[in-house]
């Protein structure tokens, strides 16, 4: 069956999960028509990009058992690669591809070097080294302001086809204008879908199964004759490449690349949270997690603000509910889910259906 081929035989295996995934898929596929308005479309595009970003991270964390703090670095390289290229060359497709190529090569080189350098040692070593490298990269990006635009980042024009002013057809379809913004959205959506299916294929291939064997018992995998360093480094490179592509998509969508939207540690935390809450070691967790998380981020914070305002008289409580303390609750949620739901939402759902 086609579906079987597309999903690489890895079905959700839970009725509720299937329904959830279908809902997310339809929601995203028809977002411009179902949820009109710039904000809603922005949320949908962000979900698309984060699904890919988180899924590629899960390839490392969930499938290979490597903790990396450099994922946002690769994401940022993608965004900056496209952004800076468009900024300096001008809004052409050539610039997009040039920027993308350079970004991919840089990511690949960095992933290879970091991987070969530190993956032979313990997971902990790798976590520390990626943390150091990523933070140095973030500092570099914000300090080399002549080149990167510093803290402000860079806004840039995109090719004609993707500009909001561009109209493919004059008529409106179901009350929605077929303009450049819509085309960009579908570019993001389709690329994200393709990348996700690609990752699904990878984790269900023999290569993916070796990665899982390494995660379970690297000593034994080595004894079985697998070069664990090679496999880990490959996974690292693949994950970096996909993150770079996700970054490029985000840059095209936002028409902006800057440290806050790509390199910041907050985004790294978001990724970690989504993986853990969605479910480590299952790519569907990335879909469910990203959708829930981005929705909550965009709409729950408003709720927190209301709560905080209502409690303004009680000083400490008001502070606790202040929208800026969003991260506090995420942190608590994160710690609790690592303890109590190490398999995340998807793990829970699958466990129940068995």
């Amino acid at each position: 069956m086609i579906l079987q081929r597309l999903l690489s035989g890895d079905f959700p295996r839970s009725r509720f999960l299937t329904a959830l995934l279908l809902a997310v898929f339809t929601g995203l596929a028809l977002a411009p028509f179902l949820f009109p308005g710039a904000r809603a479309l922005n949320v949908a595009a962000t979900v698309c990009v984060f699904v890919v970003l988180v899924a590629s991270y899960d390839l490392l964390l969930g499938y290979t058992g490597i903790v990396s703090f450099a994922h946002t670095m690769f994401y940022g390289i993608g965004a900056y690669g496209v952004g800076l290229s468009l900024h300096s060359v001008g809004p052409t497709w050539g610039a997009v591809f040039m920027g993308l190529t350079i970004a991919l090569m840089l990511s690949l080189a960095l992933a290879l070097v970091i991987g070969l350098f530190s993956l032979r040692v313990k997971a902990i070593f790798y976590a520390m080294i990626t943390l150091a490298v990523a933070s140095a990269f973030a500092v570099l990006a914000s300090q080399l302001s002549d080149f990167t635009g510093g803290e402000d980042g860079r806004t840039f024009g995109v090719p004609e086809l993707l500009r909001p002013g561009f109209r493919l057809v004059e008529a409106e379809v179901f009350g929605t204008a077929i303009n450049g913004k819509l085309i960009t959205y579908y570019l993001v959506f389709c690329s994200a879908l393709a990348l996700f299916l690609l990752l699904l294929r990878v984790v269900n291939s023999p290569f993916g199964r070796v990665l899982q064997a390494i995660r379970e018992n690297d000593f034994r995998a080595e004894a079985l004759g697998y070069r664990t360093v090679v496999y880990r480094t490959l996974a690292n490179c693949l994950s970096a490449v996909v993150a770079t592509l996700a970054g490029a998509l985000m840059a095209l969508w936002l028409r902006y690349a800057g440290p806050q939207t790509t390199l910041s540690f907050t985004i790294m935390m978001d990724i970690l949270l989504i993986v853990v809450i969605g479910g480590m070691g299952t790519l569907y967790g990335a879909v469910v997690g990203a959708a829930l998380f981005i929705l909550a981020q965009n709409y729950l914070q408003a709720l927190m603000k209301q709560g905080s305002d209502a409690l303004a008289a009680v000083p400490l409580l008001a502070n606790l509910l202040h929208p800026d303390r969003w991260l506090l609750w995420l942190g608590v949620l994160f710690v609790l889910s690592v303890y109590f739901f190490p398999t995340g939402i998807v793990g829970k759902l699958r466990g129940k259906s068995k």
Binding site: I124, F125, A127, N319, R325, L330, G331, V338, Y339
Partner: protein, 340 residues
């Protein structure tokens, strides 16, 4: 930089004392090489003292972390929280005692500061104890969860600082008698940096004495090398570990106060920011080695100060370059800890 010490031969009837000196020589060599590059002796002195001061503070913050790792194979990514909490706790004493701090009396200044440090260490020590109980203990031996959970713990702690102390950074002026510079020849040296160096040396010496002269210290060193054998001799390694964890947290708190005064402003993220340097330091030193941590801290800080002056753009990544260079020379760090 390629002179590795002669390997101790196995069959030697007379055991040879093997003193691993090359790492010790790196520091003076680095300082001497920097002198002609910088060109001016007074500037060099200023930079070197600044580097030593910064290095001492990093050492104070990092030492506990490296021991905690050595003893139980636990890497606490939330260690930075103790740094921030320590610094912010100090304000509970320092802000009400502003008068004492600004008074032109060394004694009053010292009293206020001493009280602040004592409170900060007490609070971070207690917090460390709770952190070990609640956050770390359930995930012994599970590296992946450990990294995730301690990271989560740090986020929560950092956010709680915001809840308690508000979202803004807090200015923390130096006490009067610590301000200003001392002129040595043409070189201007900030008083506070000398104090930081002195405190760092005292902490290092105290730690050295404890680790070499007391039974607990010996047990800690033995435990870093072979925890199972320490247990087989009848000692509870977990108890040792809690002691080290609490002491390390309290030291991080002390480091936080010193660092906050050095920067003269406090932000909740200061701990997380400095953690990057701390990690680099303990990797360079060799995970689990206090001596390596000391040299690593000084090395990182000196390199940061020298390159900051010579080539500010490179300074941003100087730590990484230094780490790469050291690891190429000694893949396990300057003083690899013998394990089982």
């Amino acid at each position: 930089m390629t002179t590795t010490p002669p390997a101790a031969t196995a069959d030697a009837e007379l055991p040879r004392l093997r003193l691993d000196t090359p790492p010790l020589l790196v520091l003076p060599i680095l300082a001497l090489l920097a002198l002609p590059l910088i060109g001016s002796f007074p500037t060099w002195v200023t930079l070197t003292v600044a580097g030593l001061a910064m290095g001492m503070m990093i050492f104070i913050m990092a030492s506990g972390l490296t021991l905690v790792f050595g003893l139980m194979d636990v890497l606490n990514f939330g260690h930075g929280a103790f740094v921030s909490v320590g610094a912010f706790t100090a304000t509970l004493v320092l802000l009400p005692m502003q008068g004492w701090m600004q008074a032109d009396s060394v004694l009053m200044n010292l009293t206020a500061l001493g009280l602040a440090i004592a409170l900060a260490m007490l609070v971070t020590g207690a917090l460390g104890w709770a952190f070990e109980r609640i956050i770390v203990m359930p995930v012994y031996g599970q590296h992946l969860k450990q990294i995730l959970i301690t990271m989560g713990g740090m986020i929560v702690a950092e956010q709680m600082i915001h809840v308690v102390w508000g979202p803004d950074q807090i200015p923390l002026p130096l006490p009067t008698s610590f301000r200003g510079v001392i002129l040595v020849g043409d070189a201007a040296i900030e008083k506070y940096r000398l104090i930081a160096v002195a405190v760092g040396l005292v902490v290092f010496a105290a730690m050295f004495l404890v680790l070499n002269r007391t039974k607990v210290g010996l047990l800690i060193r033995a435990g870093v090398e072979n925890g199972e054998m320490v247990e087989a001799l009848g000692y509870r390694i977990r108890r040792l570990f809690v002691v080290v964890f609490v002491a390390g947290s309290a030291l991080a708190g002390l480091g936080g106060v010193l660092w906050g005064l050095y920067k003269e402003t406090l932000t909740a993220a200061m701990g997380a920011d400095i953690m990057v340097l701390v990690f680099i330091v303990i990797i360079i030193g060799g995970l689990g080695s206090v001596g390596g941590c000391f040299i690593g801290a000084l090395l990182v800080a000196l390199v940061a100060n020298y390159t900051g002056f010579l080539a500010p753009k490179i300074a941003l990544v100087s730590n990484i370059l230094l780490m790469v260079a050291i690891l190429l020379w000694r893949p396990q760090g300057l003083y690899p800890v013998a394990k089982r």
